[in-house]
Structures are given as C-alpha cells and as structure tokens.
C-alpha cells in the first residue's frame, strides 16, 4: 500500500478500497465516473457484487485486455468494459426502471459539494457559459437505495466540499447516505454529519477544519457505522 508517502490520509485506491469493504455480498451496484470506477477492483475475496452500468448492462466486468476493446461494449463513462458470465443486456428504459424503481442497492458517485442534510451537487457549477450536462446522475440519486459519495475532502484549491448548504445547483436533495474522502468516512444522519472512521494520521480536528459544516465524532461508537443497510434484504 502506498498510503501517506508525503502526506497523511488515504489515496484514491485506498478510498475505493474502503468503499468496497462496505459493500455486502450479493449487492447490485452502480459506479460513477472517476474514483468510483476504482471500487470494482477492490471487492473483497469471497464476495460477489454485480455492477450495473446504466447504458444497458448488468454484470459488467473489468476493462478488456488491450486490443480486445469492443466499441459496442462500453460503460456509462464510454470506456470499454467486459461482460461477466451471468451478464444481461437491456435497453435504456429497462435500465432506468432498475434505477428509478429502487432495484439497485448502492450507487457510488463523485461530488462537487455535499451538504450536512445529504444534498448533493455533482453535475454543474452553474456558471452561465457552462454547457449543462446531467446524464443519469439525477435518476441515480432519486432511485438507488443508498448513495455513497467518494471524493477528495476539499477542492484542488483547498475549499471544503462538505458544506452547510450547497452553492452549486443540486443533483438531488437529501439523497446522500455516506461520504468517503481521503481523510474520513462520514455518515449523513438525522443528527448531522457523523465521522465514523479517520484515515491514518488524520485527527477529527483535522477533518473538522477542512469541512464547511459541523461534524459529530462517532469514531468511538461501537460499531462506528452500520454495514450499508437494506442491501440484499431479500437476497
């Protein structure tokens, strides 16, 4: 593991690994673009997780070997993927029926901002000259049972991404259940944002300092956090 070479905290792979560790066996999961994509490679041994990509594939496998790419077998990020044994293809209305109908257990997404109430902004800066592009983000946050965010704790310029109220246009209101950052794992609870785990070399105060909303320290709670709940309740 390459953590904390120059700095404390988790790197991208370690963040993805922490997310993967919380996904139970048998879960149906949709992964967003960026760090979320890395989650697939860290599913713990002995667990089977089925990945859905909203452009029409359930049972998505890893990237193909170079040269074996098929431009008609891609994921939502338009990257070449593979289909595992037991995979199924379907059209867009059926795909979003899965999503909107609450059949996907977990969606892992990136974020521009998350609020203390679980509001998510991850599709637009709201700048007047920006080309608005929303894709399936609003459908995912409205339909999937649990929404996990995985993101650097702050922007490249050090601004907090976890805030009292989002200033960017929302993707959805009160939709986020849990946030994984390079510094901590934070649950969105009825009482507020609760830190349940800290990255190596990171203190609760470090996290609070880089956060635009008040945090609760649940790191000593037993258990600090629940497994991603409601997943696989009927499996």
């Amino acid at each position: 593991m390459s953590a904390a070479k120059h700095h404390s905290g988790w790197n991208r792979e370690e963040m993805a690994r922490r997310v993967a560790a919380d996904i139970p066996d048998g879960a149906y999961v949709n992964l967003g673009i960026g760090i979320p994509e890395l989650v697939a490679q860290f599913v713990p041994a002995g667990r089977e997780v089925i990945f859905q990509t909203e452009n029409g594939l359930l049972g998505m496998g890893p990237a193909p070997t170079p040269g074996a790419e098929d431009p008609e077998l891609i994921n939502a990020g338009k990257k070449a993927v593979t289909a595992l044994p037991g995979a199924a293809y379907f059209h867009h209305a059926d795909s979003f029926a899965m999503i909107r109908g609450g059949h996907i257990d977990i969606c892992v997404l990136g974020a521009m901002q998350v609020s203390a109430q679980g509001d998510l902004a991850n599709w637009s800066t709201g700048e007047s000259d920006a080309i608005p592009a929303v894709g399936g983000a609003m459908d995912l946050v409205a339909g999937v049972k649990q929404i996990c965010i995985v993101t650097e704790h702050t922007t490249k310029t050090g601004e907090p991404k976890i805030v009292t109220a989002c200033t960017y246009p929302l993707t959805g209101k009160a939709v986020v259940d849990r946030i994984y950052t390079n510094l901590a794992i934070i649950d969105v609870t009825a009482d507020g944002l609760a830190v349940t785990a800290l990255a190596p070399g990171v203190s609760f105060d470090d996290v609070q300092e880089k956060t635009g909303a008040t945090l609760l320290d649940h790191t000593q709670h037993k258990p600090a956090r629940q497994s991603l709940a409601s997943v696989g309740e009927n499996i």
């Binding site: 089925i50 049972g59 595992l84 293809y89 379907f90 899965m98 109908g101 059949h103 009927n234």
Partner: protein, 236 residues
C-alpha cells in the same frame, strides 16, 4: 456468491405473510406457476390481495387458492372464463372483493410499479364505468384517466430457464405478465423447468435480468392446469 436457488417451493414461499399482496403470473394456464401456488396453499397465508389476469379454472392452481379462502381481494382483468366456477361463486356471496382493471392498464400499472412511476395517464376506460372516481385530464385535446403504479410484497412467476443469478428466459406466450411482475414485487419467486450455469444464457436473450429475482425453484415437469382439470383433480 450469489445463489438464488431455493431447495423447494415450500421454502421459497415460506415468507409470505397474512395480508400480503401477491402478484401471480400467467394468462390462463400459460405461465401460471402452479407448483408455487400449491405451495402457497400448503403454507396457508390468508387475507391475500392477489394481482393476476384471471381467476383460474377447475379446483387446482389459482382457483384452488381462491377456493381455499386465502384470497380477500383480487385485481384482475378477466375473472370469468371456461371452467372458472370458484371465483364467481365467492364473488356473488360477497366473500371476495374484486378490482376490475383493463388488461393493458393492469400490465402498465405493474410495469410502472416496478419502474418507480407512481402514476401515469392512459386513454383506456375513458367514458366507461371503469373510469368512475378516477382523476381525468386532457392532453392535446384527448381525455385520459390517471392510474397508479402497482407494487406487491411477493410475485410468483413461471419461467423456462434460470441461472443462479436469477436471469430468466420464458417460453412462448407463457412470458405474458412474468417479466413485469418480477420487477414490481419486493420478493420475486420463480419456478423454472431448468437451471443452467451462470453464462449458460446468452446475455442478449435474457428477458428478466437477475436483479429482479430473489428465489428460484426448479420444477422440471410442471403440471398443466388444463390437464389437471380434465382429470378432475382437486388441490389439496
């Protein structure tokens, strides 16, 4: 590892509780999951709300479930057909409630329930007694009624083949309500004639992706309702 196989029909339906809403696949006998229905009779859950197109025939399968007094209410489009005597009798005696739903509206309500659509508009039934009490609205100068998505606690479905993920293919016109009922139930229980390895179904051919299925029971030689009726059989 994902393995949705249940060891028997009895095990598969064990969780059905009194008062549950149960969708049951089939159009007449085609696609009717008769072994699962018989397991539900053995199980004995009562006061069920059953969503299904017909009301069965003779004294087996769906008709036997109704005859056994387990069904408090039915949502269906065509509760009257050849050899269907159980439902009409109980209905005339006021012992079972009926919500009559046009067949296409029934299908779309189930599909909507599965797709997270709470309500939609359709022109079907406008100007008829079945539109009574329904919200009506005009779009582009045509009248429509608002209909609600339907969900269920359980769905009992018959398919042809499954793999351990619950991916399904069906047989001919026995497909009918199966795929949409799989989508609309919290727990979907499927009987299939054959279980194949994961990857044994062409991913282009799969009609119901496994995400919509919770338990799979293998019944290699399912009974045909019409044959049982012809033989004068009763269940239990």
């Amino acid at each position: 590892m994902i393995d949705k196989r249940a060891s028997s029909a009895a095990v598969a339906v064990a969780a059905v509780h009194d008062g549950a809403t149960v969708m049951i696949g089939g159009f007449g006998e085609a696609g009717s999951p008769i072994e699962l229905i018989h397991a539900l009779i053995d199980h004995g859950a009562r006061n069920l709300t059953v969503v299904t197109n017909n009301t069965g025939s003779g004294q087996v399968g769906l008709a036997a479930l109704i005859a056994n007094g387990q069904v408090g209410k039915m949502l269906c489009s065509y509760p009257r057909s050849a050899n269907s005597t159980v439902f009409p009798e109980l209905y005339r005696q006021g012992k079972i409630q009926l919500e009559l739903v046009p067949q296409g509206t029934l299908a779309e309500r189930i599909r909507a329930g599965g797709a997270g659509i709470p309500a939609f508009f359709t022109a079907t039934s406008v100007g008829t007694v079945l539109a009574k009490g329904k919200e009506q609205r005009s779009f582009a100068d045509r009248d429509y009624v608002m209909e609600y998505g339907l969900r269920a606690d359980f769905a009992l479905v018959k398919a042809e083949k499954a793999d351990r993920h619950g991916n399904l293919i069906y047989n001919k016109t026995a497909r009918n309500f199966g795929p949409i009922m799989c989508m609309a139930a919290a727990t979907t229980i499927v009987q299939v004639k054959e279980l194949v390895e994961a990857g044994g179904l062409d991913p282009e051919e799969i009609v119901t992706p496994g995400i919509f299925v919770n338990r799979v029971v293998v019944v290699p030689h399912p009974a045909q309702e019409s044959q049982l009726v012809k033989e004068g059989r009763c269940y239990p």
